[in-house]
């Protein structure tokens, strides 16, 4: 059923971060002899970057864009499947780095690629209930792709942070409702101590991604009494270029609605960062009154759908904090050798 808040909640600030290294799909083909190009290129972390540094960067931009005192952030949640530590939270590091400690709670979320939007819902609930003034949810990943696997083309690095607060003149976009759609569908998984995830090949299409994304979107739109035409923009989890476009078409959305948030061709699939980054890129261009549908997908499997309406305060967000497009444009190409070193595929 649709999740609505007791007290209205909105996005107070958001920030993004994408590492500057890019690996072209053609470079992977050169090494492994393939010919697929599910995307043009993907982002790759540098030696000193990981899911925590991506989270910290995006969190700092979110705090600046919100213009709030970070000590008022009562919760910092990081959704990721690329935790640098198996045991030790990313959330505490981020909370410390942005100055939210010590009077705050922090934790990490795991639900494959929808861990970030899981954190959204928790933050929305905490803020709506009045338990805290602000709460921060981050989706960030340095996704792992087995060499020569289909996922190596797309497994990328990046993330985005969102700060939620009670609806007010300062909120950039207000939540209308959320809807989650979850089943036990094991299409993709990684066991402990394994370096790379495994997946059920074509099983990850219809019974996994499309079933859940469309299920969540239809669930939310149905209970809202809304149709595709009622939304200005739509963001769907982006594991490759084809899937979100097909999902959008199935639901009746045109490319104009999809385009601002469709960033996967240029940076790849940032897993838990994918839908938050797509939403951030859409907020970068949205105007007051625009309605945005955002639907994540996490393997295992589930989708979270959200409907936001953009507010006048969005103009305030067009400040020096870099838009997603700035991170997409800021890039340097690396070859497969350097990529192998940076991603720990070869060790000295």
């Amino acid at each position: 059923m649709i999740m609505r808040t007791t007290n209205a909640v909105g996005i107070v600030g958001y920030g993004a971060y994408i590492p500057m290294n890019r690996l072209r799909a053609s470079e992977i083909n050169r090494v492994w002899g393939g010919s697929g190009t599910p995307i043009e290129e993907k982002s790759v972390v540098s030696m000193d970057e990981d899911a925590v540094t991506i989270s910290v960067e995006s969190a700092r931009y979110a705090v600046k864009r919100a213009g709030i005192d970070p000590r008022e952030i009562g919760a910092v949640y990081v959704g990721t499947e690329s935790k640098p530590y198996a045991v030790k939270p990313c959330g505490t590091i981020v909370a410390e780095a942005i100055g939210a400690t010590p009077s705050t709670t922090a934790a990490d979320y795991e639900f494959a690629c929808k861990a970030g939007t899981e954190a959204f819902q928790t933050c929305i609930g905490l803020v709506s209930s009045g338990m805290m003034r602000y709460a921060m949810a981050i989706g960030a990943d340095t996704a792992q792709g087995r060499p020569a696997d289909a996922l190596e083309y797309t497994a990328a690095c990046g993330g985005a942070a969102f700060i939620f607060g009670r609806e007010s003149e300062e909120t950039l976009a207000d939540l209308e409702g959320s809807y989650s759609y979850v089943t036990d569908t094991p299409d993709f998984w990684r066991r402990g101590r394994e370096m790379y995830p495994r997946h059920g090949s074509r099983f990850t299409g219809e019974p996994a991604y499309f079933s859940h994304v469309i299920g969540a979107a239809k669930g939310l739109m149905g209970e809202m009494g809304a149709e595709a035409g009622d939304f200005t923009y739509a963001v769907f989890h982006q594991p490759n270029t084809k899937f979100p476009i097909k999902a959008a078409k199935t639901l009746g959305f045109g490319m104009d609605a999809l385009k601002p948030g469709l960033i996967v061709p240029y940076i790849g699939n940032t897993y838990a960062g994918s839908t938050p980054l797509g939403l951030a890129a859409t907020l970068d261009v949205a105007q007051p009154g625009d309605r945005i549908l955002a639907v994540s997908y996490g393997s295992g499997a589930g989708s979270d759908a959200f409907s936001f309406v953009v507010k006048e305060a969005i103009g305030r967000a067009r400040n020096p904090e870099p838009p997603v497009s700035a991170f997409i444009g800021r890039k340097q190409y690396i070859d497969y050798s350097l990529y192998s070193k940076l991603r720990g595929k070869i060790v000295k």
């Binding site: 393939g34 697929g36 090949s201 074509r202 099983f203 299409g205 219809e206 019974p207």
Partner: protein
């Protein structure tokens, strides 16, 4: 021997049937065939399947499917001859009715491939080759076909484009076919631009991965005034190993089965109005046309490229798309071919209809031609 007729057919679309188990798919096709035949009692059930053991860990499909369709008590058995399973099962079913031992036989093929990972599917399909001699090397069945593909081009001077046209023609014929997996056109440039599966065979020259089931009901022809009669069936084998073949570019099993079936039916090549051949790769389709005796050796690729196998061509072949476009659910494929010939002869082929079809032939191969089943059907 009694004359045998096809009293009913049933099939599912070849697709990724995620919500249906192996037995669900079988039941869908079998119950349609039973309804189509308008009968409730059968004596025996033949289940054709290739991959249930490696892919689903499932054996004893005979009893399983008999129970699934509410036919407990009937004699039931699984027939396996790799991707010729369907054609061979049909042959066995026809023998059962023709001999007088059975009065109503259901022959149903089923395969569920989508659940398998690519490496599992390759291994399962490679089980059609000798594990101690061929499959253990890691070669795939497409890899073996690719050897023939290269030799064909070198010996006869056929171009890659001419061979690839077999896939293009299949897709053309599949347009409008409701049970086809890929009912759309594909350009030859796109086929040749697709990744190399096994040089010189491209991915779009190979049949894909699909789930499906197809079934027929066989009864004695006496007393059936109109419908489709089984004019003949034949099964032949060849050297199990490519190097044991007299000529790599002739499927001797196909030649023998074709000769036996046509002789038994009293039908000449020129009397065959619709033909369904086994094209799990483009070269397999080309060599089948030649080995069955329809086209001069070395001329198959150019014959197809020249448009002779389209629905309106000289020899309408793979009129619903063949393995490439209708789909190739391994153990069920041979029965899809039989059902399609029946649809043509009954004038129930819709947009795929070949005008005036009176005689049809279906040919199914196991491995790279080590088993061949040929069936000739006639409008009665």
């Amino acid at each position: 021997m009694r004359r045998v007729a096809v009293a009913g057919i049933g099939l599912t679309q070849v697709s990724e049937h995620w919500e249906d188990a192996l037995k669900d798919l079988f039941a869908q096709a079998a119950l349609k065939a039973i309804d189509d035949a308008g009968m409730r009692e059968i004596d025996a059930l033949y289940v054709s399947n290739m991959g249930a053991a490696p892919l689903q860990g499932q054996l004893q499909l005979g009893a399983m499917m008999a129970d699934t369709i509410g036919m407990r008590g009937v004699a039931a058995v699984r027939v396996e001859a790799a991707s010729a399973s369907g054609g061979v099962a049909f042959h066995e079913g026809v023998k059962a009715v023709a001999s007088g031992m059975c009065d109503a036989v259901l022959v149903g093929g089923v395969e569920k491939m989508s659940d398998g990972l690519p490496e599992e599917l390759s291994s399962a399909i490679a089980m059609s080759e000798d594990q101690e001699y061929t499959a253990y090397t890691g070669v795939t069945v497409v890899g073996l076909s690719a050897l023939l593909h290269r030799l064909y081009m070198e010996r006869y001077g056929a171009t890659a484009k001419e061979v690839a046209m077999f896939a293009v023609r299949g897709h053309e014929n599949a347009v409008g076919c409701p049970h086809a997996q890929y009912p759309f056109r594909v350009s030859v440039d796109r086929v040749l631009a697709s990744p190399m599966e096994a040089d010189p065979t491209h991915t779009l020259e190979c049949s894909g991965v699909g789930d499906g089931a197809a079934a027929v009901i066989l009864v004695p022809a006496d007393g059936i005034e109109t419908g489709v009669e089984v004019a003949s069936t034949a099964v032949a084998t060849d050297s199990y190993y490519l190097e044991g073949r007299k000529d790599l570019l002739e499927f001797d099993a196909a030649r023998k089965a074709s000769e036996r079936a046509l002789n038994a039916a009293g039908v000449s090549h020129s009397e065959v109005d619709v033909l369904e051949v086994h094209d799990d790769t483009t070269i397999t389709g080309v060599l089948s046309l030649e080995s069955l005796g329809f086209v001069e050796r070395g001329m198959g690729a150019s014959y197809v490229a020249g448009g002779n196998t389209t629905r309106g061509g000289e020899l309408p072949t793979n009129t619903f798309g063949g393995l490439k476009a209708r789909g190739d659910p391994l153990g069920a494929t041979g029965l899809y071919q039989i059902c399609e010939v029946v649809m043509q002869l009954r004038r129930e082929a819709g947009p795929c209809q070949v005008e005036g079809a009176e005689v049809g032939m279906a040919q199914s191969l196991g491995g790279v031609g080590s088993t061949c089943a040929v069936s000739v059907l006639r409008r009665a």
